[in-house]
Symmetry: C2
Subunit: 412 residues, 2 copies
């Protein structure tokens, strides 16, 4: 059944493999399993009625434009709205700085296409968002991994690796996927200064920034960079900023955006033209109609209340059920927390036992560009309701104890 | 205002430039201009009410799934529907052969990513679809151009260029963009045989196949390849087939598909995962609900009636108004026809004069991978209504006569 020309696949495809998470998710879709594996928003929070009204209005009043081909840059009112929302968080941006993408995964792909020549190094956090590694790998990226701690990227270790001349730095400052940690304000200033000093741009990926459950918002890297420059200088001198509606409206729309200097946007527009012409006009117009008139902000408030409670339930359950040797992060927002198992305990092995207990998570290994100690797991707390979170953590704790006991008996 | 790291753009970006068409379209959006430039469907034919019903049903009954993340392969009922529709045109395919893409432009990008190593040659028609060249250029493609005539690709010239070992052949068999010509049945068999003999796969791009206004449908290249093989052999041994809803439902949805062997689909799924995770779930579910129960077929009948009439109006107007020295193709379907100016008359020059007459088209040059004589123009007949088509061709004829007179006076 083989194709007679299989040797024609491009060299870049030899390194790609299906994401571990993707394979795991297939296993974890059985109804009896409580899954902390995906990064799925809670579907019961989707603003379905508002979508109904928006679709009806769009198809009554704007159907000729909404169903037609559109500009590669995106739907102008939506770009305008995004520029205004950025202004509310202290980022100076105009419509010309905003390119709409087909989810922020496409933003990562387009940035990879724009910046990575085969063999180039990209500075990433260890661990980092797996989807970014997938996007960059195709362009032949190699990686310089810099560890994180509870205050995010260890900026004190960045200068030492600048000699390897990374093409750019990929940073998730808020409630990082997978670890849930947030880059401290001091380190934000440091990383922006390093970017300026070494002419190594920062790709600031901020899918979760709006979902904060405690404390005050910290300034974005791009806003810090803007404050460091005079107003007549390029406001996007050193930072490319990414955002998305996937966690605040609905991931099924596939709507994200890139905010960058006009000369970067114009190259990205050309690349996007070849990649998919433009992002769905219909979804852009609908998202604009859903989000407008302050609805998005009110809706985000609601999400924060619900997810904040779920985070608390998970943290309490971990405290109650997990052995004392296990540690975890305490995220101030986002969708994930990050568990570290005791030495000698492997998270892949735990995954197998967890499935027997009908609970699932993602082992930490694939989030590392280089190597890992195999003792991490990522837990999602946005998708399951509080009762299932508690029951799932109870089951997972049983699996953890079981792996630890087996390990002790082997060691003994 | 420059960014301090502009030298970091990847090497591949040095060759990309904004499509001429894209720049032209900006000029031609003034309301007083009659534009034959774009490839836009007629917006008054969009089935708006059916979309309204579909959106309402999807958001009432399927909102949790339709707004959520989905499988990279696409929405299973939609893939199933596409496989069934292919069966009706004589193509054996199952759901596992179908990958949903974000418009067929993404299909071209993913195929480029899958198959093109920098410096590889791709065999293309001269002229060919400009968007394919844009997609392939990014991966460092070079081209072997084979001319077309009224029966499509000159297959008699293909064998001679096989020595340059093209990675694949990119063929638009039906009502080709830009020339509107259709590959004859005999040549279809020839090109499939050449593919089999030389192990050079065919990328069959068929966005317009359903829009035929006269004569009988010809067998697709993939169906011919399937007939050449036993039923227990791989039904997609030599051909990758592309389709889209952009011309039959609405381009604003950005929904296309790739039909190929499972080992090709599985690599493409991995590449698509890194490129945009998956195509909008919402649009896939809505398109399925719109298309189902025979609606798509009835709707296509309606489009064929309207576009067929517009084609006839344009052909008649060309006959009535254009000088005898100008020739054009007579497409049996699709959206475009292709005009050839007399020797010495340049279509870029004509474009400037046409704008003064408030009529627009696309000069033929960008559709050639290598070089062209500069005497071609592409005219779209789907977007304007019959009265505007007639008036536009009358204006364009004035511009043509004006360029020809100036040319004669220079020669004289």
């Amino acid at each position: 059944m083989a194709i007679p020309w299989a040797e024609k696949f491009a060299e870049r495809t030899s390194s790609i493999k299906s994401s571990t998470i993707r394979e795991l998710l297939k296993v974890t879709q059985k109804p009896e399993i409580i899954s902390f594996a995906g990064g799925l928003p809670a579907p019961e929070l989707f603003p379905t009625e508002r979508f109904q009204e928006a679709c009806s209005r769009v198809l009554t009043k704007h159907s000729a434009a909404a169903l037609q081909y559109g500009a590669t840059e995106g739907y102008t009112p939506l770009r305008q709205m995004i520029a205004e929302k950025l202004a509310n968080t202290g980022i100076r941006a105009t419509v010309d700085n905003v390119l709409i993408t087909s989810g922020s995964q496409q933003a990562l792909d387009l940035i990879g296409k724009l910046l990575i020549d085969s063999g180039d190094r990209v500075l990433v956090e260890a661990p980092t968002y797996l989807g970014a590694l997938q996007a960059f790998n195709v362009y032949g990226a190699r990686y310089v991994s810099v560890p994180i701690d509870e205050d995010g990227l260890r900026t004190d270790l960045v200068e030492a690796v600048m000699q390897s001349r990374p093409k750019f730095m990929y940073v998730l400052p808020n409630f990082q996927n997978p670890a849930g940690v947030t880059l401290s304000e001091g380190r934000r200033h440091e990383i922006v200064m390093l970017s300026e000093t070494y002419h190594v741009p920062i790709l600031e990926d901020d899918p979760y920034g709006a979902l904060r459950y405690e404390g005050d918002a910290l300034p974005s890297l791009v806003s810090i960079d803007q404050q460091n420059h005079r107003r007549d200088e390029n406001p996007f001198a050193n930072v490319i900023h990414l955002g998305t509606f996937s966690k605040t409206l609905a991931p099924g729309l596939r709507l994200g955006w890139i905010v960058a200097a006009p000369e970067v946007i114009s190259k990205l527009v050309q690349l996007k033209q070849g990649a998919d012409l433009h992002t769905s006009t219909f979804n852009q117009v609908v998202a604009f109609e859903v989000a407008r008139d302050g609805f998005l902000e009110k809706h985000i408030e609601h999400i924060r209340t619900v997810y904040g409670e779920r985070r608390d339930v998970m943290l309490e359950a971990l405290q109650e059920f997990f052995p004392g040797e296990v540690t975890w992060t305490r995220p101030a927002g986002g969708l994930f927390l990050w568990v570290t198992l005791p030495e000698g305990i492997n998270s892949q092995r735990l995954f197998e036992l967890a499935l027997i207990e009908n609970v699932a998570f993602v082992p930490g290994d694939p989030f590392f560009a280089n190597s890992d100690n195999g003792r991490h797991l990522r837990l999602n707390f946005s998708n399951a309701d509080p009762a299932h979170i508690r029951e799932g953590i109870r089951r997972l704790a049983r699996a953890v104890r079981s792996v630890m006991e087996r390990h002790m008996s082997v060691v003994a």
